[in-house]
């Protein structure tokens, strides 16, 4: 079985985000970019499936700008076998919308015929939480979203989902799409031998046109705003004082 893992290049989670002066989005020029943390978890899970003998090949895919190559090399250094880069934009500020990404991924799935697509539940940049679900719809496949545990059997997979207020365990028919949540695993560091090997692993470059997809944006961002600054807290001297303050604030 092949496992396909789509990975997105996003602003690093440690970077303090700055809104561009014109409000059209977040400033990404000269900012550290990394693999979306949820996608890292997906890559890790795919590699574990391979190590467990349940998958033969792990293919990492990224749709975006040329620089996404770095993100794919990271996936290769973690242990993915090969990579496909779909260059859909020149400007790092161009965000390829979920539907376009899902359509491109469908083209890749048609070509590669993976038995499983593992992707992050959402990207930490715009939190769309849509690509995996859209891909399932386009393919007519089953889906298990927000996975905190995945067990792949021959013709089905058992997926534990983190839903509001608890866990839900579902059985989905293979091939399937699983979007992964934070607690599924802890991604590994790239080992030094794998870092050195990553460059020699194949990385194919494609365009949306290769899959008959027009990746032009359909959505328009009207405004991007920074969240309101939090008011400073206070340090209380005792439990009594804390209770009193909470009472004053109408919290208890």
């Amino acid at each position: 079985m092949k496992v396909l893992v789509p990975v997105k290049r996003v602003i690093d989670y440690n970077v303090k985000v700055r809104v561009k002066a014109d409000g059209s989005g977040v400033d990404l020029a000269n900012v550290k970019m990394s693999m979306n943390p949820f996608d890292e978890i997906a890559v890790e899970e795919a590699i574990r499936l391979k190590e467990a003998g349940k998958a033969e090949e792990v293919i990492a895919v990224s749709v975006g700008v040329k620089q996404n190559q770095e993100t794919l090399r990271t996936a290769l250094a973690m242990g993915a076998d090969r990579a496909i880069l779909v260059v859909a934009a020149d400007d790092v500020h161009t965000d390829i919308e979920p539907l376009s990404v899902a359509k491109i991924l469908k083209g890749i799935v048609d070509e590669e015929q993976p038995g499983l697509v593992l992707c992050g539940k959402q990207a930490i940049d715009n939190d769309m939480n849509a690509t995996g679900q859209m891909l399932a719809a386009l393919l007519g496949w089953s889906q298990g979203t927000f996975a905190s545990e995945v067990n792949v059997e021959d013709d089905h997979a058992v997926v534990t989902r983190e839903v509001d207020g608890g866990l839900q365990t579902i059985k989905v028919a293979m091939p399937t799409i699983v979007t992964v949540d934070l607690r599924l695993n802890e991604p590994r560091y790239a080992s030094l031998p794998n870092i050195m090997k990553a460059k020699r692993k194949p990385l194919d470059e494609k365009t949306p046109a290769d899959y008959g997809v027009d990746a032009a944006p359909r959505l328009e961002i009207l405004k991007t705003e920074e969240p309101e600054a939090r008011a400073a807290g206070i340090i209380v001297g005792s439990v009594d004082e804390l209770v009193e303050k909470l009472k004053d604030a109408g919290a208890v």
Binding site: Q69, R73, T74
Partner: protein, 386 residues
């Protein structure tokens, strides 16, 4: 000329930095408070490094290392410099000098060291022989097939966890116009050798938990098989293999300075006095500007010296410049950062006071700033006959 890193190098940097941030930072405060690294923690860090193939990455592939170039290894050291030295010690970089092992010594020392089974420590300094290495008193006298060693060494880092020591010992004396100079031989000394003792050294303000030890030899018998390299060849071994250790200090200083700087920068942007972020006051803003300029300069000086070493170009002076400038830069950066933090900078709630204390030793060990200046000036003046 090209200044960027390759993708592999970028990934090495990112991986080591991430390792330090996630596996080292969380334990630093505890190590600083207790002055010691729990055995289990040290072993855990070591095992993770072995699993990641980073352990002994400074060694060639044919002996089980990763075969990193001086440049790539300097990048590793730079990122490790961010973290506590007591903890990054377990990231395992055995002394390169072990490459001087003969076939039989390889099995006993070099290969187990590269595999992480035996840890090493290097011993040269004595109470009366610091920069003046050839003034050492610890001496070995030939007795049949053995050497009988008497004397002591101090300031020995890594001794706490070392299974064996690489020790420089006087084995003779040359009369020179400048007075007597000792001939020096390098010995491999197992920790449990009779007549050899390892004991606690001094309490240092720098690098708590990365303790220094005192070694003493009392009629300690070492068989000829313990000689590393040639008898009286200690200087040759030193010059071939210890030449580059100064780069480690330079790289450490750059990494540590960047961590410290990031704190200074963020604090200058967040801390408000008189109704504005303190970074907006030129007095602070200009300090930020000076700090990053010096850090970048030290970084390039260090990387270019490492590059020269890989290219086989003369690099003694360049390495000395990198060690000198980077360690002195770190002193200024940690001091300025502390000043920007004000009173809080002195409190151990923040790591700033620790960075400030740690920085002090970098200008002293692996050749003091004065020795580096001597090397640099001699390198320039000697060809002119001065």
């Amino acid at each position: 000329m090209q200044f960027g890193l390759s993708q592999e190098q970028e990934m090495i940097v990112e991986t080591v930095r991430s390792f330090v941030e996630h596996e080292i930072y969380p334990h630093e405060a505890e190590v600083e408070r207790t002055g010691t690294v729990p055995v289990e923690l040290g072993n855990e860090i070591k095992q993770k490094c072995i699993d990641l193939g980073f352990y002994a990455c400074n060694f060639p592939e044919e002996v089980g290392g990763a075969g990193l170039s001086h440049f790539d290894f300097t990048l590793v050291e730079r990122e490790l410099g961010r973290g506590s030295m007591a903890l990054t010690h377990f990231f395992g970089r055995p002394q390169n000098i072990l490459m001087a092992c003969n076939d039989e010594q390889r099995e006993r020392y070099l290969l187990p060291a590269v595999r992480g089974e035996r840890m090493d420590a290097l011993a040269m300094t004595e109470p009366d022989a610091g920069s003046d290495v050839r003034g050492m008193k610890c001496q070995a006298v030939k007795d049949g097939d053995d050497w009988v060693v008497n004397g002591s060494k101090h300031f020995i880092s890594g001794a706490e966890h070392a299974d064996f020591f690489i020790v420089f010992i006087a084995t003779g004396v040359d009369e020179t116009p400048k007075g007597p100079k000792k001939r020096i031989t390098t010995f491999l000394v197992d920790r449990d050798t009779p007549g050899f003792d390892v004991r606690h050294g001094y309490n240092s303000v720098s690098h708590k938990g990365y303790k220094n030890y005192i070694l003493s030899f009392d009629d300690c018998r070492l068989p000829q098989a313990q000689v590393l390299g040639e008898v009286d060849g200690g200087f040759a071994v030193m010059n071939e293999w210890l030449y580059a250790t100064r780069l480690t200090v330079a790289a450490f200083s750059v990494g540590r300075a960047r961590r410290c700087f990031d704190m200074a920068l963020n604090y200058s942007a967040e801390r408000k006095q008189f109704g504005q972020p303190i970074g907006k006051f030129q007095g602070v803003g200009f300090q930020i500007a000076d700090m990053i300029t010096e850090i970048d300069a030290a970084d390039w000086l260090t990387l270019s010296a490492a590059w020269r070493l890989d290219e086989g170009l003369p690099s003694n002076r360049e390495i000395a410049s990198a060690k000198l400038y980077a360690s002195e830069m770190l002193a200024r950066v940690t001091d300025t950062t502390l000043q920007i933090y004000g009173g809080m900078g002195l409190m151990d709630d923040f790591p700033i006071e620790r960075f400030w204390r740690d920085a002090r030793v970098e200008r002293i060990w692996d050749g003091t700033s004065e020795i580096q200046r001597h090397i640099i000036s001699r390198d320039l003046l000697r060809p002119l006959g001065a």
